[in-house]
């Protein structure tokens, strides 16, 4: 199954449960309080996911390591390499 199919299946299942309760498709007569909570649920989930995404990405951008030391080490090694290579007869 492709990732797309997995997503569609998941959304279909969730949507099915949501529609069943909200429109009482099975005539289960759920308490009104329950339906009250259920009908805006997709919006809640969407907003929650959006917030989670933004928070996660924001946090990861803020904590993205700046490898200052690695850059300095590389600069030093570039000098070393050039020195040694020209000693070995390399035209740089």
């Amino acid at each position: 199954m492709t990732k797309l199919a997995q997503w569609l299946l998941g959304l279909l299942l969730l949507g099915g449960v949501w529609a069943t309760v909200t429109f009482d498709l099975l005539d289960l007569d759920p308490p009104p309080a329950c339906r009250e909570v259920f009908w805006p649920l997709p919006v809640y989930l969407l907003v929650a996911f959006g917030c989670y995404s933004l928070a996660t990405i924001g946090y990861r951008v803020a904590t993205f390591n700046d490898c200052e030391d690695a850059a300095q080490e590389l600069q030093q090694q570039i000098r070393q390499a050039k020195e040694e290579l020209s000693r070995k007869g390399m035209r740089l």
């Binding site: 990732k3 990861r60 951008v61 390591n65 700046d66």
Partner: protein, 251 residues
Amino acid sequence: MAAVRERKGARDGTGDMYSVLLPTYNERENLPIIVWLLVKYFGESGYKYEIIIIDDGSPDGTLEVAKQLQKIYGEDKILLRPREKKLGLGTAYIHGMQHASGNFIIIMDADLSHHPKFIPEFIKKQKEGNFDIVSGTRYIGNGGVYGWDLKRKLISRGANFLSQVLLRPGASDLTGSFRLYKKTVLQKLVDNCVSKGYVFQMEMIVRARQFNYTIGEVPISFVDRVYGESKLGGNEIVSFLKGLLTLFATT
């Protein structure tokens, strides 16, 4: 003396050999440095290796530089497998691999953004879990980048988050191209990957998960190229999104 050298040559006693594929296009300034670093770190760690340089007719004379390096370090260590003209990165790997005699293949950029000091760590990691693939990652642990502004970090993190959500690939750095593969595994992946260019790296890791290959990860620092300019860029974001959606719908 001989005993010492022998012990060093086969320090891990497994007879493993590592072929490093270096695709180059206009890297005359970077190539000597990257080769020097490779020789240094392989020498210190004592693993058996070869470096395969695949130059695509660079107009800046990269091949000439490669020939000089071959003279210095020997034809058994530096192999030149040039091609006439620029045929792209994906086919460069395939071309190089055909000439590799190691049972492991290391793929890295020649522009000094991938530092050879991580290779011994890759190898250690691979042996720890007998992993099929070890992937360098900028996104976890001590991994990171140098020379990126806020915008680039944001795009990178955003793109990475989106691809993690959509593809759940089981590896944290999809677009990085600093990796170690078992040769048989790389062969199988290359045979099954259809995308070209930039998306190729992404597809490799996604297919790897499909085939249930095991993936180990090593945090790496990615230092933006010092010399020369990137050949990709431009519509990188567009091709990334296209590739992502293609993989989303087909794997």
